[in-house]
Structure formats: structure tokens, C-alpha cells
Symmetry: C2
Subunit: 373 residues, 2 copies
Amino acid sequence: MTIQSFIPPRRILMGPGPSDISPQVLQALSRPTVGHLDPLFVGMMDELKQLLKYAFQTENEFTIAVSAPGSAGMEACFVNLIEAGDKVIVCRNGVFGERMRENVIRAGGEAIVIDDEWGCPVSVDKVEQALIDNPETKIVAFVHAETSTGAVSDAKAIGALAKQHNALTIVDAVTSLGGVPLKVDEWQLDAVYSGSQKCLSCVPGLAPLTFSKQAIEKIQSRTTPVQSWFLDQSLVLGYWSGEGKRSYHHTAPVNSLYALHESLLILQNEGLENAWQRHQAMHEKLKLGLEKLGFEFVVDEAYRLPQLNAVYVPQGIDEAKVRSHLLETYNLEVGAGLGALAGKAWRIGLMGYGAKEENVALCLRALEESLTQ
Amino acid sequence: MTIQSFIPPRRILMGPGPSDISPQVLQALSRPTVGHLDPLFVGMMDELKQLLKYAFQTENEFTIAVSAPGSAGMEACFVNLIEAGDKVIVCRNGVFGERMRENVIRAGGEAIVIDDEWGCPVSVDKVEQALIDNPETKIVAFVHAETSTGAVSDAKAIGALAKQHNALTIVDAVTSLGGVPLKVDEWQLDAVYSGSQKCLSCVPGLAPLTFSKQAIEKIQSRTTPVQSWFLDQSLVLGYWSGEGKRSYHHTAPVNSLYALHESLLILQNEGLENAWQRHQAMHEKLKLGLEKLGFEFVVDEAYRLPQLNAVYVPQGIDEAKVRSHLLETYNLEVGAGLGALAGKAWRIGLMGYGAKEENVALCLRALEESLTQ
């Protein structure tokens, strides 16, 4: 087999991520690499922290991007905040809640699992009851926007409950950041991670992360080392910190950070509220069209994420074949169902740069043509 | 502060990495993002595995790129291969040997440390004695090419010794891969990791990794789960495996993998042996010039890496000031000393695309001008 340069086609990415990326961001990505301790790069990292704080709506000093995908951002929260035996309430209403439980176990914590139906939000009442039943709970972990179902949970209410019961929160904001309201400080959230490749429309591979003062205090009062060297945020802080000399931890993914900087700049220039409104407006347009085509949504309207539209596959349709057809004929990627929804649902993403009229129009027309073939 | 797009200058990167990157690789990096489960992308990953096997000189089926920097590649080896209480001989002759020891401890292993002077290779005799003294040793861990000093160790001899004593090897090949001979199969090495940003001249952020059959067997016979979910290679394998359906683990860093594919293709087209010879030839030219300028090398000629030239800073020189001058005046990055060599040495990299006449010439001339100012 002779291998050639890989020249990908231009896909329209309307799955659960990676999302469509602006040419501006791809251009930033390919700018010349500089050293990870270059003073100019260090200056860019300071700007990046500021842009991330805006996106997260936080003043948390510890606001960075983990040099790895969202799953590593999740793990960074659990391994830093949990010590052996810590009780953690884990809310499970989709794939990523289950992954959180896995993380708790592997970090040596004790998971108290609260289950809700796939497609439903986390039940705030159940969280309250679990906190009452388990007064020694150290952490409440939940997914703000479940990428596997498209349901949004009430992060504000859960954040407030956790604070009342002296527990910290770990929040999965992988799909929510930039797409729906997320207010880290106002909602009193403690450890919040995201991914670069969803509503920020940056390349996959980075995990924005922010820790509150209380989260940092929990880390600083640990009596055992963090089990991961790579994800030990007390070491990482020495590199991202603006005070004095930067200390080397690992070689930062320089070019990917250029791209994140650019994508966050685009978000700041648009304005967070405008971005949220645009996601909502595009969702409503898509929803009307999908309903006309006879689709039913997995999630009730009240808890539906505009950026991730999970719909049931119509009866009698070979779902994989339709997705292949969309990809091959229209270069259009739509997401398959995941976990309990595998084979039963499609996930149509309207994320970041991809939440726009031309994508909605193409998707509706291509689906209509494919289903009536 | 108004934030603008970040436009980096074109630096000449002659530090310990990231190294100079070919425009061809930066171009590949910025091609349109496709989905991480797109059939075309899956095909590219198969090619990438094949190219990585060539670079590592291995037939190991498990040959992939970890979606994170070299330090995560290191951690992937330790957390997958070590179970609580496993005895691990760790050879320490620089910064990265010490980092290996940290990894052993955090993975619950027992570290038996063999120390050698910074700038010296790992003593094969000491490894043999340690294996005799500790017959229950499960793993021997060492750094093939110490990035902190520029010393190469005899990976072939240590690999053979470990096999004689029924131990596996974990090998840091971050700086060696592509720059000096590394023959994973012939030398019977078991778990070998590298970094994308050294002699492969790709962007930083990926860690090539290969596991031998015996390494896989050790992982499969574990009685406890791997402590890291993100780095659990039995889960990752489900995504990288060519057999049957790919299962989702995490979102792959699509664009960075395009770049790695391209950089490995360049290496294959040049030929490994030719690349090794080029590094050696450029090193000899640089060495002659540096000696004329009065520089002394940290490492004896017999153990010197061509791609990482550590030289003592001349007496009476403000080393940080000179490095800043080189960067500001010539856009030339030269590496500072690390660990025990901080403030005492410079590290001049000749890695991958950067191992070329124009870089050697610039470096020598710029150093001469800067030191005689």
C-alpha cells in the first residue's frame, strides 16, 4: 500500500462534535509554531485565560485548557478533587453520567448513583434527597448538557443545593459551553470542564477547565498525591500561572491553543448572549422542519438543548444506511445514537459555527430527499 | 485589554522541542476537520498505524498515538502495565528518569532507583546487578534519549537484559524516535512512547505509543482496573482497532492526527536510515563550529545525541540574556538547561525538519555575534 497525503473532503459537521470550524480558526491553527515557553506564547496564554473566563462567566484564577480532550478534562476534575473514600453523588441520565461514575471508582471514591431516564434532566429533588441521606457527601457530579440525549439539567439549582450541604460540584459542560447559558460564578459551580470541539467550534483535543477557590482549597488540603502526574493540576498551575517564572510541566499543544484563542475571540466578539440566542433560533427553525418531516424528539421541549437535537429514527428505516447516504451524497455528517439510543436515534448538532441557516436548510432538504427515496 | 488574533512570528526552533515544522505539515494540520468516526478518517488512522510501525521498526499490532502530549504517553505505559506492589527498576540519569519514578509511585508500584550522573548514559552493569538483586522485578524503565542532557543509553543491551530476567521494559523514546536508531522489535522493547514535536517535526500534543505482545498480555492479565479511564489502553484499543466496528472512546484530535500522518509520510519518504544520517551529519557540522567557539559538551562523544546538543554556558555570560537576544534579534530559539543543568547549559536541538544546513549556519553565526558583542 502506497500512502499519500491525506486530503479530507469538506464535510458539513452536524453530529455531536466535532462541529463545523470557521476557516479563521483553521488558519490560526496553522500559524508557525513557537516554543511553549516563548514570551509571546506566554502572553497569548494569558489572553486565553481571560477569554476562557468570559466564556465560563467566572473570575476563577484557575481557568485553563487541559492539553487533551474533554474526557481528560473530566478525569482532571475527579482525580484532583477526590481522595480515597470520598463520597460522591453521581447523577446518571446518559452516557457521560456513567463515565463520571467510572471516574469516581477509579479515583478511589465511593459513588452514590442517582438515576434518571435517558432523555430526562437530572432530578433536582433526588439530588436533594441524596444529600440529606448522605450528609458526609463531598462532591455532587452531574452533566449539564448530556451529549448522548440532548437534555439540559438545572445546573443552577443543583449548584445551590450542593452549597447548602457543603458539597462541591463537578460539572460536565462539554456540550453546553457557548451554546446555552452557563454561569459558573453566579451558579456557584466548583469544577467545570468542557471540550474545544462543540459550541466553541475549535479543533478537538483541548478541555477548557475552571476550578473555584473552594475546589483549589480541597486540592491543596489533600493528604495523598493526585494519582495522575499528567493531570495533577497543582503541577500544571506552575506552567499556566502568570506570577513569576513559568515552570515546565509538559510541552503545551501550541498550535491547538492558537486555534482555541481564535475561536474564543470569535465568541467574545459575537457576545455570549448573542451566541446563545443564535443557537436557540437555529434550533427552532430546525425543529419546525423536522416536525414537518414527522420526526419526534427524544427530549421534552422544556429540557431540550438547542445545539443537540436527538430525534427518533422513523420506523422501518435502516438508520446506518441513511447516515452513509447523507455523508456520501451531501458530505453531511449526522450523529448516530449512543448507548441506550444506539440504532434508535439520530443526533443532529447545531454547534458554534455550525449553528447557521445554510446548515439547517441543507440538513432538512437532505433528510427529506433521503427518507423519500 | 482588547484581544486581537494571535499572529506569531516565524521562529527558528533549535531548542529541545517543539522543533521546526515543515510548511507541508502545517498545511495538513489546517485541512477541513472531519468526524472522528468518518470512514475516510478511519482509513487515515489505519495508514497512520502503518507509518508509526515503520518509524518504531515494529510489527506490534498495538501501535497508536495517544491523544495528548508525551508525558501522557509516559503515564499510559505506567498506569497500564503496573499493578499495586509491582517492582519497577527505574534508571535515573536526568529529568525524565525522575518523572518515571514519580509515575511508578503514583501508579502504586515500588520503584527501585538506579542513579547515574547527569550527562552519562544508564549503566548497563547496574541494571544487570539490580535485576540479579531483585529477581521479582516486573519492569525495567529507562529513557533512551535524555532530553535534559542529550545522552543516549544502550536500549538494545537493556532490552536484552530485561528479557533474560523475565522483565518488561518501558522506554522513553520521546527525543530518539526518528533521530537516532530505535528498533523496537529487534531490541525486544515492550512499551515505548514518544512525542510528536521532536524528531518527527509535528505539532506538539500527540504521543506515539507501541506495546509488544507481552505488554498486552500483562495488561490483559490485570486483576484491578487501570486507574486512569482516559489512558486505559484496553478501552482505547476499541477505537484504534481495525477489526469490525470502531467504538467511541473519546473524540480524537482529528487535525493533529492529519499533521502526524503527514510528518510520518515525510519520514518514510526520506527513509529512516537517511534521517538518522542527516541528524548525525548536521550534528558533526554544529559540533565543529561550537568547538571553534570554545564550547564544551555536557555529554561524552560516545553517548552524545546528534539531535540534542547540551553545551556548558561560557563563564561570565548571563545565559538568559543571551537566549533572549537570540530570540529577539534572530528569531532563534535555543533551549535553557533543565533541572541540575538549569543556568549552566544550553540545549541546542537539531530535530527533524530543523536538522538542516541553514539552521546550523544561523545558529553558529548568531551565537558568535552574541557572545562577542
